[in-house]
């Protein structure tokens, strides 16, 4: 063991460090000119198609769009961190609008005069103070998805029918009438949203609940929701034992007759459950006489306004190409399997699956209830609501009324801005 070996190792390490250092200094910038822009995608399901689309864009227009992907629930953390500085932020990013969008508004460029803004469907843009800051990426909807092979849609058109169906299915024992799943939005989020959206002025209603002025347990739709939850707990499988994969699997294999889900399940059923015998139909969730599907915009495209003017223009050009060119439109409808929220994109209804068709009709006719949870205090579903809902299913003595009371308190706690 001589100085030779250790001296060599040390000089090798120092050499490596300096080479890397030099390489760093002269290295290529991530987005120095408007010939390259970066796009931070939040939806894992479309990232491969987005990359393919970027290749096509490069062929047609010569501009490189670098697609950054990530895991599903990490996106907003990474986005907030990357946006801290002009040099690290992406040129194009996505948010869910509402509270999430408002927090990051300072980074968004004003798109009111962008070429594609006139094509945005009515009320679907992300607007603040009358100006447009986000372009809707897609329209999505959810409701009660029923396997009509097991239970016909007419049997679940009213709340009392629905509850009877649950009891009947339990008594028969061949399948369960309905299933919830343990993830925050599937356990409580979407169901709660239905009740919120049935109020006359949902946005104001949320503010009142947060301030404590209105208590959920005193509002009719929520009382009924409490009753439904009691029926679900008494007559179906414990949702805390079920995850999304299992829930959809049970639906497609006939173990459950219905689920409260959206048209997004189509990506899973078209690839993994092609041979299933289930006949699906989406109907409004029968909460206290509700007869509409819940339709909203889950994601918006935004342009980073802190970047250079050249890059902002290149970003707007790309988004414009996305929704106006033949290639872009084809990708949106067929590869991403989105229902577009732009009036200039024609969709061949007959080519859609039955769930998407139902949502498309509801969206176009305007005969739908909105999504309200974007106005809830940020993060509330995951940090407060899901915990409370879990306790409802672990503590069998809790009544539906008590559930609503606790949820109402959660809104007040979560709403405290520190």
């Amino acid at each position: 063991m001589g100085t030779h070996i250790t001296r060599k190792a040390v000089s090798a390490a120092v050499a490596t460090l300096s080479i890397l250092g030099l390489a760093g200094c002269g290295g290529s910038a991530t987005s120095g000119t408007a010939s390259t822009i970066t796009l931070f995608d939040s939806k894992v399901e479309i990232v491969d198609s987005l990359k393919a689309l970027a290749k096509e864009y490069k062929k047609e227009k010569g501009v490189t769009v670098e697609v950054w992907g990530t895991t599903g629930d990490d996106y907003i953390t990474q986005l907030k961190t990357k946006l801290t500085n002009q040099t690290t932020g992406p040129n194009i990013f996505m948010t869910g609008g509402g509270q999430e969008g408002d927090t990051l508004k300072s980074y968004m460029a004003d798109l009111t005069n962008a070429p594609f803004t006139k094509y945005i469907a009515k009320n679907k843009a992300y607007e603040v103070g009358g100006k447009v800051f986000g372009m809707p990426a897609a329209v999505e909807g959810y409701g009660l998805i029923v396997n009509t092979g097991l239970v016909s849609a007419s049997k679940v058109s009213t709340q009392s029918d629905f509850i009877s169906m649950l009891k009947q299915a339990k008594a028969d024992g061949k399948y369960t009438g309905f299933e919830l799943s343990q993830e925050s939005y599937f356990l409580i989020g979407h169901m709660l949203n239905t009740a919120f959206s049935m109020q006359s002025n949902p946005k104001q209603f949320v503010a009142d609940v947060v301030s404590g002025k209105v208590k959920l347990q005193n509002v009719k739709e929520f009382k009924e929701l409490g009753t439904i939850y009691e029926a679900i707990r008494a007559n179906t499988n414990n949702p805390l034992q079920i995850n999304y994969d299992k829930e959809i699997g049970d639906l497609m294999t006939g173990k459950t007759a219905s689920v409260n889900q959206g048209m997004w399940i189509n990506t899973m059923i078209s690839s993994d459950y092609k041979d299933s015998a289930a006949k699906l139909q989406m109907v409004p969730f029968p909460l206290d006489g509700n007869d509409k599907l819940a339709v909203g915009v889950p994601l918006y495209w935004h342009v980073n306004g802190t970047k250079s003017t050249a890059e902002q223009k290149a970003s707007i050009d790309f988004l414009n190409w996305l929704v106006t060119s033949k290639t872009g439109q084809d990708y949106i409808v067929n590869k991403f399997q989105f229902i577009p929220a732009m009036t200039n994109i024609k969709v061949d209804e007959s080519k859609m699956d039955v769930l998407a068709q139902a949502v498309y009709k509801a969206s176009n006719s305007g005969d739908n209830i909105p999504w309200v949870y974007q106005y809830w205090p940020s993060g509330i579903a995951d940090t407060y609501l899901v915990g409370t809902a879990q306790s409802f299913f672990t503590d069998k003595a809790m009544t539906g009324q008590q559930l609503m009371t606790k949820l109402s308190e959660d809104f007040v706690t979560a709403g405290v801005k520190r």
Binding site: T77, K80, S106, Q241, S378, G379, D382, G387, A414
Partner: protein, 290 residues
Amino acid sequence: MKRKDWYWNLLFVGPTVCIFSLVVLVPFVMGISYSFVSWDGIAANAKRFIGFTNYVSAMSDTRFIRSAVKTFIFTAGAVVLTNALGLIVALLVTSKMKLAGVVRTFYFMPYLIGGLILGYIWKFIFSDGFAIIGNVTGWKFIFFNWLLNPTFALFALIFVSTWQTAGYVMIIYISGIQTIPQDLIEAAEVDGAHGWKLFWHIKFPLIMPAFTISLFMTLSNSFKIFDTNLSLTAGGPSNATELFAMNIYNEIFLNGNYGYGQAKAVLFFIIVAIFTLAQVSITKKREVGL
């Protein structure tokens, strides 16, 4: 060592301290300064100076206090079990047993996998897996879904943490055992010391450095646990296993209360620091040098 040689000391210590300061100390101090403002963490949005308000709120935040208590309980359990298991296996594989190399590798392998994935695998085992075993054996008082019970979910977390880190601790103890000169052991055995006596009076004091290190590392890692917490229980059921790092993460990134989250972090850090630094100085005094 020539004590007046500032040049040498600077050369040996300087680079490390520089890089460390830039990467750890500067962000930490920045974080502390942010605990005195009301802010949502977004650089472009306003910060509002509110002095010690965040600290006062934190001390009356029952959910935070519960999470801190749970973290202490978890840490106590995990540290004891991990060190016990790691030490026992380390002693076994450095003894004359056969297949020592294979056993050592097997015990170490769980550590090679990140906490996030492990959590998902064990989540399946504790929920569906136990249900299946419970049905087959009929021993439903042990084999039920642990993750739906607040107490057992915490046990599950301790169990998984021990399973994963026992191998890592074993490595540290093996290093410690290796520094004991073989002739010392043989001399002691000639003098009549065997088994437990040999261990407690000879081996253990000599591996005290390894014990200090291992104790401190398991303590610090347990206080900070996040990945496994997230994937195994996600803080449930009903926030019963929301440990400290998760509480902070949720506060900062989901609730958007950055200053408040930082204040909680500083508070917890102070408490934990006092506790563990006391431990380090106590055990360091008992170390035996050669």
